[in-house]
Symmetry: C2
Subunit: 224 residues, 2 copies
């Protein structure tokens, strides 16, 4: 049997990976990383820990249908590995939160790989810590979503994180203001280029794929 | 100035702390851990990393008013430390998610401590990885809450984690079933005593403070 560890390597700070991730990267036979548009941020983040080892970039070509691209990637990994070998597949943030790995995992399971998922620090947990902003205090509720916010949910939660906000920021900010949320926009959280914006106009003017909005209802106790 | 690092040490597996947490524990002048009923799980989890160092247990007595217990703890830490020294305060899971540390941080900030929060792996991220169960796939929404679930939210999210379920399990399970969620009950996630229950009667019969329910809507794509 072949074993894959799907590992969340956290938001981008090379120190925010777990001891388990570090050990598995050192011990495994193969290191796979996702590549997008010729780049692999995951590969850059762990580069200090992979010295002397081959890092194999796995592409998920945008033009292909989902079912095919993940199937092809899983088959490529299958062909490279021998029975009894282990590999890690590294993914940003947490492995079970909006990750390419989830789709890959489903294909790997069909090919009879043994799969173990190792959790990582999410971008929204990192953002909350970075701002000393509580995500949830006793009896509070938190919602995680991507791109769109739902007004009925806004009425019923105390804090929210919206990932991948670059396509729809104005609508998101309008709804957050209507429902009296304090919001913060963070791009490239925990990377050297990290930037934190509070001003509506500055947020609307920015355009970065790796950005998120984290918000907390006004009147709710705050750490800031 | 005195500096406190509030550090999330993850769900209980000593390998699921970050490299940053590990380094700060080794480098700091003082290690503070929360103690409850004479025990400190945080102290046990990191015991291998604190050898040769004093670990100072901080109690938050239940009888006292919140404002007073956190104020007293912050003052105790203030009295022990000298200017220019650093300390870590270790908390289970992530530091900004339902933690005692949040309340302590607010008091430390009033006493002019420099505070830096270091994120950790949450119990619900760990549970999702452990089950290979996606928390969120593209365009999905996730809700985090403690003790109670809100039916309007259940209609509008794809997955949910409910922490501290021991007081109110039957109501939670009824609502999850009504809104067609597949649920899993995990206690002591990532600790040696970890147990995973799927059966309604077994879940209702169990009684453990460190338990959570993680659930995903039926019909939503699943990793299981």
């Amino acid at each position: 049997m072949k074993k894959i560890y799907g590992i969340g390597i956290g938001p981008g700070d090379k120190e925010l990976i777990t001891l388990k991730a570090y050990r598995l990267i050192k011990e495994c036979d193969y290191i796979f990383v996702p590549m997008s548009k010729g780049k692999s941020l995951a590969k850059t983040i762990v580069s200090e820990y992979t010295e002397g080892k081959d890092v194999i970039e796995i592409e998920f070509p945008m033009g292909e249908k989902n079912a095919i691209r993940y199937r092809n990637a899983a088959e490529k990994m299958d062909h490279m590995m021998k029975d009894g070998q282990t590999a890690v597949f590294l993914t940003l943030g947490d492995a079970m939160v909006y990750s390419t790995y989830i789709y890959l995992m489903l294909e790997l399971q069909k090919l009879d790989f043994q799969v173990e998922t190792v959790p990582g620090i999410t971008s929204f947990n990192a953002a909350a810590s970075c701002l000393n902003m509580p995500l949830t205090m006793k009896d509070e509720r938190f919602c995680l979503c991507d791109r769109f916010v739902d007004e009925e949910i806004l009425k019923r939660v105390d804090s929210i994180a919206v990932l991948k906000v670059n396509t729809n920021k104005e609508d998101i900010l309008n709804k957050l203001e209507k429902h009296r949320f304090h919001y913060v926009y963070i791009k490239r959280c925990m990377l050297p280029e990290q930037k934190t914006l509070y001003d509506r106009h500055a947020i609307l003017a920015d355009d970065d794929y790796m950005s998120l909005i984290i918000a907390r209802k006004v009147g709710v106790r705050s750490g800031e």
